[in-house]
Structure formats: C-alpha cells, structure tokens
Subunit: 233 residues, 2 copies
DNA sequence: TACTTTTTCGACATCGGTGTCAATTTTGAG
DNA sequence: CTCAAAATTGACACCGATGTCGAAAAAGTA
C-alpha cells in the first residue's frame, strides 16, 4: 500500500540501513486520477485479494482475468474498471507483498547490541520466516521476473538493496579487522546474498531438501560467517 | 544428442564423479517410431537450430512456432511433422545444450593432482566459462523451469547431481579433517551450489555487476573454501 | 518409367483469453 | 425525491497463435 516500492527479501547481516525511500516504482493505487468511491475502493481491494489467491493457485501465466473477477465476485468486465491488465494487477499484488515484507523486515531492524554473528543469524532467521509465509508469491516474483520487465526491475532493485546493505557491513567489518581485507566486498556480498536467497528458494519453493528451520539457519549463518573469516560465537 | 539427460551446469569442487547415466528424461530424437529419411533428419536439425536462435532472441514465451519455421526456411505446417509443440522442441533444444555442457564438463574432469582449493577454483572457472557461452539458454531454462513441469524436473535433476557431487566431496574432506566436521554436508553443499550458480546467473544473465572473469572466480573460490574452513593455498 | 513413401505446403478452422461498450443499477449529494 | 456521477454487467467483437488437412512435390525403389 505504501509507495515504498522495495523490501529486503534477501537475507543480510548488515545493520547500517538507510530507510530513505526510493523513487516510487510500483503504486498499488492504480487508476491514474479517477476518483474511486468507497465502494470502488472495496471492490478494488476484493480484486487484489482475489488476484493473490488465484495467482498463488494457478501461477501467473495460467491465471485468467475471468478467474480473478469470479473469485472476487464481480463480472469480468468490472475488472477493467480498476486494472488495465493481468500484469498490472500482478504488479500491485507484488507491491503489496513487498511492502508487507519490507515492513516486517525493518520493524525489527533496530540493531541492539548483538554480535555480528548474531545479527547475521537473526537476519537469516527472519528471511526464512518471511519466505515461509510468502514463499508462493516470492516464487511467483522470480517467475515473472524472467519475462516482465517491470517485475524484473523491481526484483533487481530489491536484490541491489540487500547486496548494498551487506556490502556496507562487510566493508565496515573489514575496517574493524573483523573480516579479511583481501576480499572484493561487492562481489562477495552478491555471492552471499545469492547463497541464502537461492538456497531458500530451492528449499521452500522448489521443495529441495527437508530441513529444520533452525538447522538450516544455523548452517547458512555458519557458512556466511566462515566465508568472511569471522570469529564464530 | 546423447540420451544422457543431465549435465553439471552447477559449479562444484567435487571430484568423485559417477558418470553412470540416469534414466532417459529427454530425448532429442522425437517422433516416436516414424522413420525419418535423411532429408527429414536435415529438416529436423534445421528446425532445432532455428529454434535455439529464436528462443535466444525472443525468449520462450514470445517465440512463435511460425517464427521458428520461417527461420528454418520451411512452411509452418511442416513444423508439426517433426514436433508436437513449441514446448517439445524447446525441451529438445535444452537437452542438446545440456548434453554439450555435460560433455564439456566431464571431458576435463580427470582430476590430476590438484589441491582441493585448486580443484574448486578450476570447477568455478569452468562453470563461468560455460555460462558465458550458453548463458542465454541456461537463463531460458531457469525461466521455463518456473512453469513447465518437465523442464523443472530436468533442472532439479541437474542441480541435484551437482549438490550430490559437492556433498560427497565435503564429506570426504571432513573425514580427512580438511573441513570442519560440524557442518551439515547436504545443507552446506546446496547452499554453496546456490551461491555460485545464482551469483553467476545474476551476473551474466541479469547483468548485475561488471566483474573480470578471473576476479569473480577468485572471490567465489575464496568464499567457498573459507566457508568450509579449508586452508587456502 | 511407374509406383509408393515421405516431405512440403499454406489455406483454413478453431479456440480461448482479452478488452470494449452501451445499457442498467447503485450511490450519494442537494 | 431527483439527478448526476460512479459502478456493474455481460454480450460481443477481436485477435493471434495453434494445430489440421488435403493436395502437390520430391525422394526412393524396382
């Protein structure tokens, strides 16, 4: 709902976070300037809810506008009063999920006095939790990214944010001597973000492996910390 | 062309490799029992070549049977003499690419007396090279995996092989004491395979970052080795 | 050459999802 | 209550890709 376009789906051990908003990429309040009465708002919301259900059930490609409308209890013609196309409503749904995820992420972002290792662990745990709850939609985002330019932009932005955050963190630790200095921080942060996000994707969306949440988080965190040459608590 | 269905697209530092074939998943020689004269063979091959070009140019979804036929210089009706659908020819193309990749991978697989670190480095280097040459098709495979069951099965099998190989290698190193014993070898191997393959995917297919090949390989290898607590040469 | 088999062709029918629109109903303000 | 704006409806036209099919051409065989 918020104009805030991105989130921090990717895991990260970083703490230095700029919550400063980015330019609005996705708006969930469609229909350019048309007024939209209370009733209209409700109908629009019903369509969004229905759309998410249909997308999660059928996937983006097999989802039909007709099904979304039916699921929302309106004639399929009404759909076009609120959205221009299937793609548009999909982007809105994604934006809403992202906004939720982002909120979840940042709401617990205040970094207490945890050790670097613990911060990474917490970030990974949170990532797994969010993926458990929104895995289907996040998976759909991966799907849509491969053929929809706008979704791809969003996806890349989300990833970029995560990588950036991790990078800053790594660089800071390098200054502190907590992490080896001879390491391309940017490349390394990309790789580590890939490690976590893609592992969880195959695990929770593609059904590879059958781990206990805590065990997986633990292993991921260990690998992450070791890779950076950090001391493990 | 070989019935060998999979490959080892994913990176791996493992050496213990079973080349034993898996049950045939994809066959590139379509058309059930129909004979197929020399001329037919040629036309079929032309269609395959054209298909790869069109897929790489337009992506799987936007590619049209008509375009493939035109590109191959045949009437679009002729297409159906050799393939049942766009999906079927796509699977054939993927199978061919995979077979090529697999061949490349295994042909240089004889492990000389390289150190564990060097073996990992070489595997990563090879992975990057192969991805540079076949990135578009490998990216398309990622795309198709998200909505085609058969492609997904193939993709998962490919990944599974890589993970398996890495896992065996990790376990062996754990016995030798080269790698920390307190580590879920399966989980870790999945994560490391994700690290490399997803990083390279974002790098070479999605255009994230702008690395020098050797630099990227070096960083990846360092992270990999460090993550496992290996000594670095 | 005569005949069969295989290949090629391209017009055509089909099909299902998309998006439009004019008519109708509902809402809400005066 | 009255009227204008907003919302709803569902039939309909559109579109483009898919897949079919009968006929014609080419290749193979004797």
């Amino acid at each position: 709902m918020t104009p805030q376009g991105g989130n921090d789906t990717e895991s990260s051990g970083a703490t230095v976070t700029t919550l400063a908003g980015r330019p609005e990429v996705l708006s969930s309040d469609g229909r350019g300037a048309t007024t939209l009465s209370p009733k209209g708002q409700r109908t629009r919301q019903r369509l969004l809810t229905a759309a998410r259900a249909v997308f999660e059930r059928d996937g983006f490609l097999d989802a039909r506008v007709v099904d979304i409308a039916t699921e929302a209890g309106v004639a399929h013609g009404s759909f076009y009063t609120y959205f221009d196309s299937k793609t548009e409503i999909f982007r809105s749904v994604v934006a809403d999920v992202m906004s939720l995820v982002w909120h979840t992420r940042t709401s617990t972002d205040g970094d207490p006095d945890l050790s670097p290792y613990q911060r990474i662990e917490r970030a990974n745990r949170q990532f797994v939790r969010v993926y458990r709850e929104n895995g289907t939609m996040l998976g759909l985002m991966e799907q849509a990214m491969t053929f929809d330019d706008e979704v791809r932009q969003l996806r890349l932005m989300v990833r970029q944010r995560s990588v950036e955050r991790v990078r800053l963190n790594i660089e800071q630790m390098q200054k502190e001597g907590t992490v080896r200095g001879d390491l391309d921080a940017f490349c390394a942060s990309s790789a580590l973000v890939s490690m976590v996000s893609n592992f969880v994707y195959f695990w929770l969306v593609m059904g590879e492996g059958d781990y206990d949440d805590e065990a997986a988080v633990h292993t991921l965190t260990q690998l992450w910390a070791s890779a950076l040459g950090m001391k493990i608590d």
